[in-house]
Amino acid sequence: MSEIDREKEEAEFQAFLAGHGKLVSAYKDAIRDLNESAPPEVDAAILQQAKAAVAPPPRRRPAWVAPMALAATLLLSLSVLLNIWSTPQTREMMSPDAPMLPPGLVLSEEGLLQASPSELTITQPDLAASDEKGTTSVNPMQDQEEAINQVREPASAPKKESAVAPSPKVNAYGGKSPDVSTSTESEFARLPLPSAVSASPPKKVEAREPDDSIPANSERGAKDEIRSELMYAEEKKQRRRAAEQNDRRQADQGRQEGPRVEEAMRAAASAPPNALPSGSAAASAIHGEAAGASSARLSGAPMSSPAGSVEADLERIRDAMSAGEIDDALRLIDDFQEKFSREKLPQDVLDFERAHRLD
C-alpha cells in the first residue's frame, strides 16, 4: 500500500470518527430504510413497569386505627348519653312518653305547621302586656300574675306540660315568648317531618287581637279579686300553722303533767270528799284534770289537759269563724259542746252561733 493510499485511509477514518464519510451516511440511510425498532408491546410493557415502579404504594392503614376509632366512638357515645341522662329536662324530652307534636300544632294540607286557635287563646290579663303588633313589652305585674296562676292551678299539675307543650297563656306574651319558641322549635327538631314540612318554615304564631267587648275596668276588678284571694290564702295558711303549733305545745304540756294528775286523783280518792274546799281552784283543777285525763284515756286519745283542749278547741272554732268557714265553725261548736258539756261557750262564739244558726 502506497503512502498516498495510507493517507487517504487515515483521512477517511478521521472523517468516520467525526461522524462524516460515505460509510456513515450509508449506515444512517440503511437504518432509516430498514426501520428497525422494538415491538410496540415491549415498549408499552417497559413504560408500564417504569410507571408502576415509581407509583406511590397504596396507603395501608396502621393496624391500630380501627380499634382506636371504635374506642373513640364508644367513649363519645357514652359521654353524650350520660350527659343526656344527667339532665332531667333532656331525659323528659327524650322519653318515649313525650308527645311528638305539641297539642296546639297540627299539619295543614299545605304541609305547613299551623297552630290551632283553641290552643292559642290569650287570657285577659295577658293582653295588657302585648301591644298592637303582638310584641312583648315589659310587664311589671308578670311575677305576681304567675304567682296567681300557680295558686289557681292545682299543685299536682304535671310539670311536664310546661317543658314539652307550649302553654296557651304564655303565647299571649307574643312571638318572643321563650316557652313558645323553645318548645315549638325543639319539637320541630325531633319530628320526622315530611319533606314539605321540613322545607317550609313554620308559620308564625301570632297573638290574638284583644277582645274589645271586655271593658278595662273589669280587668282591674278581676286582678284585685285575685290579689285578695291570694292574700287570704296566705293568711289562712299562717293561721293553720299557728294552730298546729299550739296543739303540739299543749300536747307536750299534758304529757308532762300526766303523772301529777294521777297522783292528785289517787289523793282525792283516799281523802274524804270534803277534805278540800269544793270551790277552791285547786280542787276544781284536780277534778277537772282528772276528768279530762280519764276521758282522754277512755277515748284512747293522747292524754292532755282538759283546759288546754278547751282552749285549743275554742281557738279552732275562732279560726274557722274568722276564715269564714261557717259550716266548719258550727260543726266545731257542736263537737265542743258535746265534749265539754259543762263549759260555757264564750260570748263571741255564742253570737256567731246564734247569727248563723238562724240562717
Partner: protein, 188 residues
C-alpha cells in the same frame, strides 16, 4: 409529557434524576431517546429479533430496577450501554451465540445473487450494509455499532465495553477497513 420530550436541553442525567424522584414522564422521555439505538445494538449483536427484544426489555428493566442506586458518575449513555454490553455478553455465554462473524461466503453469495449492483434497490443496499456489519468480528462490530448508534466518544465506548481508548480506535479502524472491502462494489 411532550414538553419534556421536545426539550433537548434537558440532559439524560437530569431526566434520570427526575425519574429517581418519581417522575415517570422523565423516564418516558429518556426511553424514547435511546430505545431504537439500544434495540439495534442488540439486533446487530445477536441477529435474532425476538432475542434482541428480550435483551432490550431486560436492560430497560434493569434501568428501572436500579434507578435508586444510580449515581451520575458517568454519562447516562455510557452506563446504559455498559448494562447492554454486559447483558449481551451474558447472552453469548448462556446461549452460545456464535460471536464469530458470518461466513464470508454467505455475504459474497448474497452480493453475487444481486448482480448488477447498479440495479440493487435502496432497500437491498441497506440490507447488504447491515449484513456486512453483522459479519464483523464481535469486538469490531460492537465498537462500530456503539460509535454509530450511541454517538459516544472513543473513551466512552472503551468505558462501556471495558477496554481502553486506543483499543477501541484500533477495533474501529479494522472494522472500517473490512467494511470498505466488503462494500467496495456497492459504494458509489
Amino acid at each position: 409529557m411532550p414538553d419534556l420530550e421536545n426539550r433537548n436541553d434537558i440532559t439524560d442525567e437530569q431526566l434520570m434524576r427526575r425519574y429517581q424522584r418519581g417522575d415517570a414522564a422523565a423516564f418516558e422521555t429518556l426511553f424514547r431517546r435511546h430505545r431504537d439505538p439500544v434495540f439495534r445494538y442488540f439486533l446487530r449483536g445477536c441477529s435474532d429479533r425476538e432475542r434482541a427484544a428480550d435483551l432490550y426489555q431486560d436492560v430497560w428493566a434493569s434501568v428501572v430496577r436500579v434507578r435508586e442506586t444510580w449515581q451520575p458518575r458517568a454519562r447516562f449513555t455510557t452506563w446504559l450501554y455498559r448494562l447492554a454490553h454486559n447483558r449481551l455478553v451474558d447472552e453469548y455465554r448462556r446461549a452460545k451465540i456464535p460471536s464469530e462473524p458470518l461466513a464470508e461466503d454467505s455475504l459474497l453469495s448474497a452480493a453475487a445473487s444481486e448482480q448488477p449492483e447498479a440495479q440493487l434497490s435502496r432497500q437491498q443496499r441497506a440490507r447488504r450494509l447491515i449484513q456486512a456489519v453483522q459479519a464483523l468480528p464481535e469486538e469490531q462490530r460492537e465498537a462500530f455499532v456503539l460509535q454509530q448508534e450511541s454517538g459516544m466518544s472513543l473513551e466512552q465506548i472503551g468505558e462501556a465495553t471495558g477496554v481502553g481508548r486506543e483499543t477501541v480506535k484500533s477495533r474501529l479502524r479494522y472494522a472500517l477497513n473490512k467494511l470498505r472491502q466488503e462494500l467496495a462494489d456497492v459504494r458509489d
